[in-house]
Amino acid sequence: MSKPRVAFFDFACCEGCQLQVANFGEALLDVLKLIDVVEFREVMSEKSNEKYDIAIVEGSITTNHDIERIKKIRNTAKVLIAYGSCATIGGVNGMKNNFPLEKIKKYVYNKDANYFDTIATKAVHQVVKVDYFVHGCPIYQPEFIEVLKSALRGLPYKVPDYSVCVECKLNENECMYDKGITCLGPITRAGCNSWCINNGNICYGCRGMVTNPAKNAQMDVLDKYKIPLDWIKNKINMYNKAGEQAPEEK
């Protein structure tokens, strides 16, 4: 059986997730035994000439041109994997959606604003069908490999629908709230093995929220720990804004 042809693409992003893949270390050799990488801008200059089976897409959709391009990729690929927060939930690019489009355009490009085509930030699945998601900013390498294995076997990959707290407890970390620090673990979906908290950082919610985040209960918690709602809102906004449309210009 010939190896599936895999192409990596990027849209609006920092390309950090590509770097994570390039940095797989020893596992990369095993991965390369399974797939034939035909396009990967960060590590090779060859192009796929639009012949590939699996497209692995990083970055969010932020221009009309992006929409055309991702549609073309979708039409060519048998399987599309979105990886990294920018692609799976809009990620930090979603912060743009906090402002009216015209205003943010002017702010960034000033007098040249009219030369730039820009739209409200979208995650990839808000434009085309996505078969697999690898959440995270950056992606958690072991999860990427799990997803790849599922994709190669044609099996679904189930992103956990419970909070980061679950994995954090299994790792026996001291709770950030006990240290008097706010953390988005309770509402963020797991799958990263509480990577940040294991290393002394808080959870920034880069994997997106669980489907049922218990809003009222959350408010209760903020109240009890005397955490101003704005703090949490700002933290959530950092990654989770692409689901919403940009406000109208006033």
Binding site: Y162, P186, A217, D220
Partner: protein
């Protein structure tokens, strides 16, 4: 006659040193602000002798968070079971956690016997440590009758003024006494001092809730439609912390993983929680306990009713971990008292 030995406090550092030379020893170690975790030690300085229940109970050594059960090879059509275990001494187990381990022992020895659990358990030596006072306000060990030792250990340490008085409960425990060579016979004075400690404890430890031990089950059995669960429905975040930290929660998920050759792989089991959204979901997406209140009720029934029916034992040790860890401040003592109030 009970067999008691004495270890002078000044010899305690030597004891840990000698013990850890021969065995892997784990003990409560501080993890920052009022958090503790059982961690490997080789010196007594690392051990927190006065500690409140660790983040995770010692169950993590009996049924690890993730454990391999089997391995397979697709092309060779082989499937082999795997037993993972290690020789281990757990030092400093409080009486509530001894009770928790006993609960797990009962469940995993029930048919069908869980060989992986038993293989581990048989290689773990347990050294208990008496609490002479309450850990904090979350504990309810008196009402659950686990504030004093009810067996389940190899050695049991009670702190006296100058020394530890040590109850030797098993041959393996005696082995440790011999190996370290630091213990002497207890005198009648020591035994008297120990009795004093126990008498003092009787004065400190009082029922922590408004319900008597034997009335807990009937109360929970009547509680199915209670308003208390509606209240928890609104407050619970479903983070699963309460069950993961509970010494008697043992639910797990079984997952088949494959290696990158896409041919060989292994079967693991991993802790699961009845509080997680997906726990009671079945094929077709239907969930038996979609509401958080139902899931909370289930958790309580699995402590105070179902196991009493099946094993004649409450599966709550009163360690207080679930209340201590809950960000929503859902508190076991308060839940019990709220149900008791409704009942009156």
């Amino acid at each position: 006659m009970k067999q008691f030995k004495i270890l002078e406090k000044k010899d305690f550092p030597q004891f840990i040193k000698r013990l850890s030379k021969k065995h892997k020893v784990v003990a409560p170690v501080s993890r920052g602000n009022k958090s503790y975790a059982f961690t490997q030690v080789d010196s007594s300085d690392q051990i927190a002798m006065k500690y409140i229940p660790t983040i995770l109970p010692p169950k993590k050594y009996f049924m690890p968070q993730r454990e391999t059960l089997a391995q397979y090879n697709k092309s060779k059509k082989t499937f082999q079971t795997v037993l993972e275990f290690e020789e281990l001494v757990i030092f400093g187990v409080h009486t509530c956690d001894l009770a928790g381990i006993q609960c797990l022992n009962i469940v995993f020895s029930d048919t069908p016997k869980d060989i992986n659990y038993i293989a581990r358990k048989n290689r773990i030596l347990i050294i208990g440590l008496e609490c002479n006072d309450y850990c904090d306000e979350y504990a309810s060990c008196k009402v659950m009758d686990s504030h004093h030792p009810n067996g389940g250990y190899d050695l049991f340490f009670t702190e006296l003024k100058e020394s530890f008085i040590v109850h030797v409960n098993t041959l393996e425990g005696e082995g440790i006494i011999e190996l370290t060579g630091l213990f002497k016979e207890a005198t009648s004075n020591h035994l008297k001092e120990r009795e004093g400690v126990i008498a003092a404890k009787k004065k400190i430890f009082k029922d922590e809730v408004d319900v008597h031990y034997k009335d807990l089950k009937p109360m929970f059995d009547k509680s199915a439609g209670s308003k208390v669960w509606e209240d928890l429905e609104k407050r619970c975040l479903s983070c699963g912390n309460c069950t993961n930290v509970c010494p008697t929660c043992y639910c797990f998920d079984i997952i088949d993983e494959i290696n990158l050759d896409l041919d060989t792989g292994y079967r693991i089991r991993q802790w699961d929680s009845c509080q997680n959204e997906d726990f009671a979901k079945v094929a077709g997406g239907e969930s038996f306990r979609e509401e958080r209140g139902q899931r909370q009720r289930h958790r309580y029934m699995r402590k105070f009713s179902y196991p009493v029916e099946r094993y004649a034992r409450h599966f709550c040790t009163g360690c207080g971990r679930c209340s201590r860890t809950c960000m929503a401040k859902i508190n076991l003592k308060e839940t019990i008292n709220a149900l008791a109030k409704e009942n009156r």
